[in-house]
Symmetry: C2
Subunit: 232 residues, 2 copies
DNA sequence: TCTTTTCTTTGATCTGAGTCAATTAATCAG
DNA sequence: CTGATTAATTGACTCAGATCAAAGAAAAGA
């Protein structure tokens, strides 16, 4: 299982400050626990659970899910190595969705309560956190836009390119990466039917845009995909 | 034009800290400018413009817009009294979309550069900002979810209820409020055709869910609307 | 005021994507 | 390895919502 390097991780600016601060702390209560293992299918936290920590994905992948009135599960996001999990609960101190591991994975866990209590490094930590949250807002904005006003092919193309970009940013291959979530998960996330996801993926293969076997996606024509999205 | 009270504004926790800090500052360079007037159609900032300040809507309304490849405008959000504008640019120091006033409006403008330089109040200001950003992330998450997987009626219902809730939260009527944006703007935002927005609105009227004349919406049956959304 | 332009509504038609159904492939348990 | 269960693909059909078109209502200019 390939892991993201700390230097490529979104939470790292905060980790550094916290860990630096920790050395000076008399009590050895770790505020930061690196590389916690999580089994496939395990919940990182559940909906309505009180907020206690932020997580950074070290390896593997996760999905964020809510349950609607009829009890059906809805996927509202995916997390890959280097991604931040849990920011949505900072203000209300309660998680607004559950997060489940899609495979054997590892996270780094940071106790935010402690972070905001650790005195002289507090300001640096806060500064770092502000940056991270700002980044998060900008990203969410983009994702929302690219999903809402687009058709099935555009959504899928944007989704695949997004995965590729994230893979590249975290130090992995930008051309080839794992599609660890099921077709149903993708469908739910993109607001499409399973069957449509399947059809669009095979269409993309016949167009020569991507190659796909087992869980591995290969970008054969990234520019073409970019065109399909219809965005800049 | 009705204005939101500062105590009902999202940016207020930050304003308070900043303004308190300002009194002690030797230089009288204001970091906070309250109630700046903006004319209808005027840009608050444009896409790709360097980030310099956060804005809080005091009165009126705004839309956030990007332009796609074909040069067509896409609405990606609306701002009402009490809302925060500009958070998406904090991390990258560049605005990722433009914001245009939908009518005569007022904003409070806060220079964030200064905020993060003002010394002993800095920590309080940062704490406040973290809360605000966290709230922003949680809200965006909700909006995205409610839009992507819903049909036209569900989107419109959620949109109207969202406006009502925001209106109520800011100290205005929850039953009655202005629909200051055009049908096209709503359509673009919700990812629908103008015609569909129009049709759904008339359907809602004939169902007795809302009343609508000129720019004023009245909720006649909020529970009914809530049911239409199909969410909790 | 009247005219022009823009916005909104309503109707008719068409199409992308959802639903239902059946087949094939992959994963899991023993 | 083998049968059982679950996931993915493919096809046929349907419908919500897009597009096209035209009329009506508001808003902006003169």
């Amino acid at each position: 299982m390939q892991e993201v390097a700390c230097c490529d991780c979104e939470l790292d600016p905060l980790c550094q400050v916290v860990e630096y601060g920790e050395r000076d702390l008399a009590n050895s209560e770790a505020t930061l626990r690196r590389r916690q293992p999580i089994r496939r299918g395990e919940l990182l936290f559940s909906e309505k659970q009180p907020f206690s920590s932020l997580f950074a994905v070290k390896s593997g992948s996760y999905k964020a899910i809510t349950t609607d009135l009829s009890g059906k599960e809805r996927v509202i996001g995916f997390y890959l190595p280097g991604d931040l999990i849990g920011a949505e609960a900072i203000a209300n101190r309660v998680h607004s969705f559950a997060v489940r591991a899609l495979q054997e994975s590892r996270v780094c866990k940071m106790d935010l309560q402690q972070v905001t209590r650790c005195g002289r490094d507090r300001e640096m930590a806060q500064q770092a956190l502000i940056q991270i949250l700002g980044q998060e807002i900008a990203l969410n904005q983009q994702v929302t836009t690219s999903l809402i006003q687009q058709n099935a092919e555009q959504r899928m193309a944007a989704f695949i390119l997004g995965l590729a970009r994230r893979s590249g940013l975290r130090g992995f291959s930008q051309q080839q990466f794992g599609l660890t979530m099921s077709r149903s998960d993708i469908a739910s996330y993109l607001g499409l039917a399973r069957e449509t996801v399947s059809r669009v993926l095979t269409r993309f293969q016949t167009y020569g845009l991507i190659g796909l076997n087992k869980q591995i996606v290969k970008l054969r024509n990234p520019e073409g995909l970019e065109k399909v999205t219809g965005m800049r």
